[in-house]
Amino acid sequence: MAFVRFAYPTFRGGRFEGNALPVDVLPELSAYREVIVDLAKYLFIQSHPTRQRVPRGFVDSFRLVLRNVEPGSARPILELLVPDQDQPALLFGDDYFARARDQIANAVHAASARQALPNDFPRALIPQFNQFGKSLRPNEYIELRDPAHEIGPRYDRDTRRYLILQYRPEYEASVDLIAEIRGGVLDREQITFRLPDGTIIDAKAPESAVQEIFPMVPSQVRVIGSGVFDQNDRLKSIVHIEELTATEDDIPVPTPLADRIAQLGALQEGWVRADSRPLDQRLLTVFSNFIGALLADGTIPPPFVYPTPEGNVQAEWSFPSWEVSVMIVAATEMVCLHAVHLDGDDDREIELPAAPHDTVTTLRGVLLECVR
């Protein structure tokens, strides 16, 4: 047997900066393989119109193995295990797996440039990307390199989202959120949660898990898993719960955003000082929309929200090593992020306009650095 180098999907950013590959992202390699296999099968059928299915041994011939991870973020070297002297191309007349690898790279390249997908890429296979890249966090990506190319297209959450939304109006992504358990339905294998913004969502869960949560109603829990998001990045449902843990009783939990905004909207003249004025309702709407967008993908926990004596509104997070605040200034509608590292001299100060989508992306990236 011999090994032939096939692909170097290089994991970059976030958890991968230590030149190591966390084992919990290994399913990504398996999902990448699945996309390649399905596309290779499609290409074979296209090349053999008279055939209904691929020949026996076709899929089994694609023996992809991981023998080592090279430095440079985390670069797994995926190799094909082939019989001595044989090349994959010799087995079925063409190297459909290499062609599939290249077409996937082309599709990702187009999506990363926010362009239409290549015409030869089968739309029906797009939903496969729901599984590939699902665990990527906002500051992480996979560079799809192969032996012939030193650089490859960048596959990140935004590119993946763009790609999938070409085919259907929703996509799957990882979630890590705090929610309140509201109940469950055994026969539907379903748990109902209330998100901090008041949204009610359902989660798929085995009957045994549904049974376990009944005594926890209506406590706050942390939910880690994957969910379905709409085109506006709103979480619609949770499709898989990996971990569900009760938040500790002595750890304060923020008032749900909608409730807190209503509380702040009801503040009267002189609420903190004789000259304090009620908060501007438009500011509260802008703030609520902005924080809602920041939390939409479930990667950032809900913040505590406070007014400031100057009439602004501020969100605050306490992470193990960082204190972070995001304030929207009433007069300018600018967003000011301030982060302080508790054990060192490190800090961050960022000021950006509240409206652009880029501001949400930028601040989410900073917050995710602080969460770790």
Binding site: P252, P254, V272, Y306, S318
Partner: protein, 139 residues
């Protein structure tokens, strides 16, 4: 800031006992579900770089709350930091009794610009949160 009765920031008024607690009263709007905002420890323009506190050795957390609210100010509880925590941020605290409160003290942030001061007060707030509420007003 309350009117001082004439004890300026000077070495002889420096509070040196590391475990002395310095109390801050929290306005109810700046506490959400038991968590005080960093603003509880933030300077305002009126503070002129000196953060008002009350020393535990002269007024327990409960007494500090009573003295504060007796002046018509709103508080839902007390959160506190130590002199040692101030020192770790290059901050000094000074005895600064006022007419109706001999426990009054100030944490001196006059040497720092807004950004540097905020970094320090945010860290003080985090320390106070870790310590927990020292006195909670009856609801």
């Amino acid at each position: 800031m309350q009117k001082s009765i004439g004890m300026p920031i000077a070495p002889r008024y420096l509070i040196t006992v590391d475990n002395e607690l310095l109390h801050r009263n929290a306005h109810p709007t700046f506490v959400d579900n038991g968590r005080p905002s960093s603003q509880v420890f933030c300077l305002t323009e009126d503070d002129r770089g000196q953060l008002s506190t009350q020393q535990n050795s002269k007024a327990s957390a409960e007494v500090a709350y009573q003295r504060y609210t007796a002046r018509g100010l709103q508080s839902c509880g007390i959160w506190s930091v130590t002199i040692l925590e101030c020192k770790s941020l290059d901050l000094s605290a000074y005895d600064d009794p006022v007419i109706d409160d001999n426990s009054h003290a100030v944490i001196d942030l006059t040497a720092f610009n807004n950004s540097q001061a905020r970094k320090r007060t945010n860290t003080l707030a985090a320390n106070a949160r870790s310590r927990g509420c020292q006195y909670k007003a009856l609801e």
